[in-house]
Assembly symmetry: C2
Homo-oligomer: 446 residues x 2
């Protein structure tokens, strides 16, 4: 596909190319444009039908958007802006340098400019910052027939016509009517009879995660955003909710792997930014791990007398880390999905304790047998490992459960209590317990 | 809210209770029902309006669904079944014992029974298994007016009326018309003129992840599912796509933390099942970590001569593990989002190598300074740690990138090359490199 289009471009067969491009979905055109050079980019873009051009523009990466804007004549810029929804315009403006933002605002029509300025004022990651101001509004005293007239009149440039919002003169949200209700009702039915008044909505300053949770829970196609006086200021549509859901999951995974979340995709992010996102955590964890090293040093006499002790340290550290990672992942994800609440703390701890004892028993049994036979039926050594393993696993699972929930309790993101931090804590505990038990039980160390 | 409703229940104020329940969203009613006892459950459920009862039923956990069905009279069961969409029916039947499935199929009307049987035949996690067979189909020679008549006729029991599917007599999918297009067109416009013929669809046996990717990429509200001859067999709606997206992210996180993904939510999963999901991986990793232990034993003479060497082992293991975790997470998530493809292997390796060198340089510098001053300006020891750190970080980031991509190359899920496996590999490497360098450089060990 891509090769064919590039061939048409090389042959300057623009009429054919225009036709082929019009048949493609904007998301696919955008993927193609990511890979062509700056000149081809502008040519391809100018061949797109007006509406598709705007939709393609929205899908492009920030640097290509900037390249294009810099090459646009004022007229071309205006043509693209006229087709943009306010939320999409804000999405791309947030990444542009001030000069580009200024030029865009100068050429946007007054309504779009006002909308953009309003949306830019909401805090990042708030419901207000992801909503769009283009929705279909209805009045209570309209009939179904009036509603259809209104949809036909304003519908073309609304993000969705499938959920309509009934507001009063002061724009207070009174009810919601779906296009399905309208389609299945008779033309003379009053809207006030049809509208759903049990409204699920979010406030402009709510976190955007609240928004996606509402979509997930209530199977919505659009969600109204109101101000603190219940006035409708915008809506979030399900396609945006889906994007945010993906982004939030990605961010959580990155935090759980001890990284600052990246703003862009893997290859779009430069080596420097990748390194910058990773180094602070690595440094912190590296220096913390030195504590475990010092604990080891403290027991120098023990492993000087019995060097075999050292060879079990990696196994203990790795098992403790893995157990903590498992629990932390279950708890962090459970809290993100609202399946686990902070009030469930004791219940979760009790569950993890039981799981830890089960895991501990089986791991200790297997490893105990291995060590007993591998190291000449050394019962003392076997006992030390068995006891340490069980203690380590219990501590790991308890910390893996406790730390993320405590983070949430003090309003931190639970995902920052990432597995690596828990591993580092568990390491220090398990090494201490290990040598304490060894010094007490092993006759070689008496 | 919950307390008020329970009070109404205690007071047997059923008329009021019925009213209050009707005002609640089915998802909220379901949450309430999770917490009441079996008797109250049946009473509450019987107070729900017919349609809301079915929607609430769908939201309940499997064990409550089973409790309810066992208490339903045949007539009640039929009433709920009549309101269920086929895909929701299949979702809950998949979790029921055979006796319940049999009873349900006996009472479902013939069309629903046929649909359920068809859906149950598709492999788990395929597009076919998540689709619904209830959609609005149109014919090419209809007009917009005919289409509205058809929507009004069949629309009430279709999952969505916003995307309609144009099929021929053999049910080949010819085109797609949205309700928005219909609403904005004049009544006499022929459907053939209005329909979009560049169709985005999936096949019944495609993985369900393909389906969610299409929603993510193309901002769809519904996606047609066709058989291998292009005949329309069902559709997937965006609310289901959103659920699957959440589930897939959860599964990936659990795999990345070295667990078998749980089928149910955290508290719904029993201690036994949690333990069963975690133990096999823990065992495997614990026994693998013994290899690192044996490598340590091999260098017994070295740390006998210089016990200080041991105290840096936790820091090296932990840093190696964390670096590997970071890279693996970026790569696994990037592949899940289709941002990184297997063909990008060399490009990704090159990027990780550069990041590794940057991270390595900074971590080695900080730790080098610390060790130089903390351990009496011991330049040799500092050099050993600096070199080992850099080598460990490079190996960790390369393995973290390579192993998930190789897994994908041989058609395994990249997420199984979880961070814990990579850490375990890196541990063995880093300990070996550490002692090799130490033995070569340190005068105490000559």
């Amino acid at each position: 596909m891509k090769e064919e289009l590039m061939e048409l471009f090389e042959q300057r067969a623009f009429a054919r190319l225009r036709q082929e491009l019009a048949n493609l979905h904007p998301a696919d055109v955008a993927e193609l444009l990511q890979e062509v050079d700056a000149d081809a980019l502008a040519v391809f873009f100018r061949l797109l039908p007006k509406e598709e051009a705007a939709e393609t523009f929205v899908e492009l990466d920030g640097d290509l958007q900037q390249q294009l804007i810099e090459r646009f004549s004022d007229k071309e810029l205006k043509a693209v802006l006229d087709e943009l929804y306010a939320d999409d315009a804000v999405d791309f403006l947030e990444e542009m340098p001030a000069s580009v933002v200024k030029r865009v605002l100068r050429h946007a029509d007054p309504q779009l400019r006002a909308d953009i300025n309003q949306l830019l004022r909401y805090p990042k990651d708030s419901a207000g910052s992801i909503m769009t101001t283009e929705y279909v509004d209805l009045k209570k005293d309209m009939t179904v027939e009036d509603a259809f007239l209104r949809i036909r009149k304003v519908g073309t440039d609304r993000e969705t016509v499938y959920t309509c919002y009934v507001v009063d003169a002061a724009r207070h949200l009174l009810g919601i009517v779906t296009a399905k209700d309208l389609l299945l009702a008779t033309p003379e039915t009053p809207i006030s009879e049809l509208m759903e008044t049990q409204i699920i909505s979010v406030e402009t300053h709510d976190d955007r995660e609240e928004t996606t949770r509402a979509f997930d829970r209530y199977d919505l196609l659009a969600l109204p955003v109101v101000d603190h006086e219940g006035r409708l200021v915008g809506i979030v549509t399900v396609d945006d909710a889906l994007d945010i859901l993906q982004e939030e999951a990605t961010e959580d995974m990155q935090k759980m792997a001890a990284m600052t979340p990246a703003e862009e995709s893997y290859f779009k992010t430069s080596v420097w930014v990748h390194a910058k996102n990773r180094i602070p955590w690595l440094l912190f964890l590296m220096l913390s791990a030195a504590v475990t090293g010092m604990i080891l040093s403290y027991y120098e006499a023990a492993f000087q007398a019995l060097p075999l002790l050292v060879s079990f340290v990696p196994m203990l550290m790795s098992t403790g880390g893995n157990c903590g990672t498992q629990s932390a992942t279950m708890i962090i994800r459970g809290m993100a999905l609202d399946e686990i609440k902070v009030t469930d703390l004791l219940r979760a701890l009790w569950k993890e304790l039981q799981i830890a004892l089960l895991c501990g028993a089986i791991l200790a049994a297997v490893n105990g047998l291995r060590i007993y036979f591998q190291y000449g039926r050394n019962l003392e050594m076997t006992l030390v490992i068995v006891l340490t393993l069980i203690a380590t696993i219990v501590i790991a699972k308890i910390l893996g459960c406790l730390l993320p929930m405590l983070a949430k309790l003090v309003k931190l993101d639970p995902a920052v209590m990432a597995a690596p931090i828990i591993s580092t804590c568990v390491d220090a505990f398990s090494v201490t317990i290990y040598f304490q038990i060894a010094v007490k039980l092993l006759s070689e160390l008496q």
